[in-house]
Symmetry: C2
Subunit: 219 residues, 2 copies
Amino acid sequence: MRVVLEEEVLADNNSSAKFNRDLFEKSRTLVINIMSSPGAGKTTLLEKTVSALGKEFSIGVIEGDLATEKDADRIRAHGAQAVQINTNGGCHLDARMVAKVLPEFDFDKIDILFIENVGNLVCPSGYDLGQNYKVAILSVPEGNDKIPKYPVMFRRTEMVVLNKIDLLPYLDFDVNMAIEDLEGINPDSKMLQVSSRTEEGLDEWFSWIRQAYTRNQVQ
Amino acid sequence: MRVVLEEEVLADNNSSAKFNRDLFEKSRTLVINIMSSPGAGKTTLLEKTVSALGKEFSIGVIEGDLATEKDADRIRAHGAQAVQINTNGGCHLDARMVAKVLPEFDFDKIDILFIENVGNLVCPSGYDLGQNYKVAILSVPEGNDKIPKYPVMFRRTEMVVLNKIDLLPYLDFDVNMAIEDLEGINPDSKMLQVSSRTEEGLDEWFSWIRQAYTRNQVQ
């Protein structure tokens, strides 16, 4: 299934998000929008995910960055189709940018599409891309105060991945406080603790994706 | 010297930035706009700076955050005057927000004003606040690719502080590559290597501030 874009689809973010969502539902593609600060580990988590799940699922990735094709290249090295969007200074992806690159995928063949947003803990949270799930990555070196300080992001996610837990011995980060802060601001969101580097906790992340995929097939 | 704001000052960012700059020049206040990703260590660096230089200079701090008074409280605990701006979801400070809080300072008594921007490696770079210097903090755990991936920020700074160098033994970060990337994109910018946590390298940062202050008095 290849996408044809009509002009009205691109009229505004809501029209584009609806177009994207309708397409994803029709093709039963699970779509996950991954957001975080720069350097929290979005691309590394996706590299590990593509490596681990690439035989079970056909995976596509959209990479959002201000500049460079670096992240798409990293994903392609693991065998998944990756399309790079350069926002040329823009601080987030919007549904129109996503809609415009959808024709590059064959949706009969894509089970899961990850959208890696621009590294930014503020702006991406305001833009519906038509995804099934919004995942925020928080990394241990960013410190304990980020959930209350960036409430707009953490209030709207279905899942928070706490990454770089291998650095916990070297830093003052209180995991329980982070869990409590998230429960206070967004009781429906879960938190997984992982290290993409050491792969600790990644099995739980993969299980969550498998369950989300299955739920999406049944609905 | 206390500030009186007229309505036309707030007409747009350029008018407000000019108003701020004129005031800072008249009072010979050195003003440094500090920008970085969330969690790169802006507030910790400022805490150490206020502690170390607070007897030499009268220091004021403006703290920009989406929500909470946490950062201003941290600065106040070290004896400096701190004024918190909450952007209520806004992804950067602009010159108007800064102009509006300037009446809270007595500029006859402020030698150095630090403005800690919202944690965001994209949006703050586009807004002149009327400062003398723009400093970007990059932290080791964010990884080696940030300078080419966020060129808009690093192209416009006078100084980059590479923070959290105490974590270099635990991470794959190539300091020389970061220096080369910065030279390639912005040959006029310097890079200092520090750890606010262990205080390694901070003396160079303090020296740079002292020299900037002296230059600003002479001009």
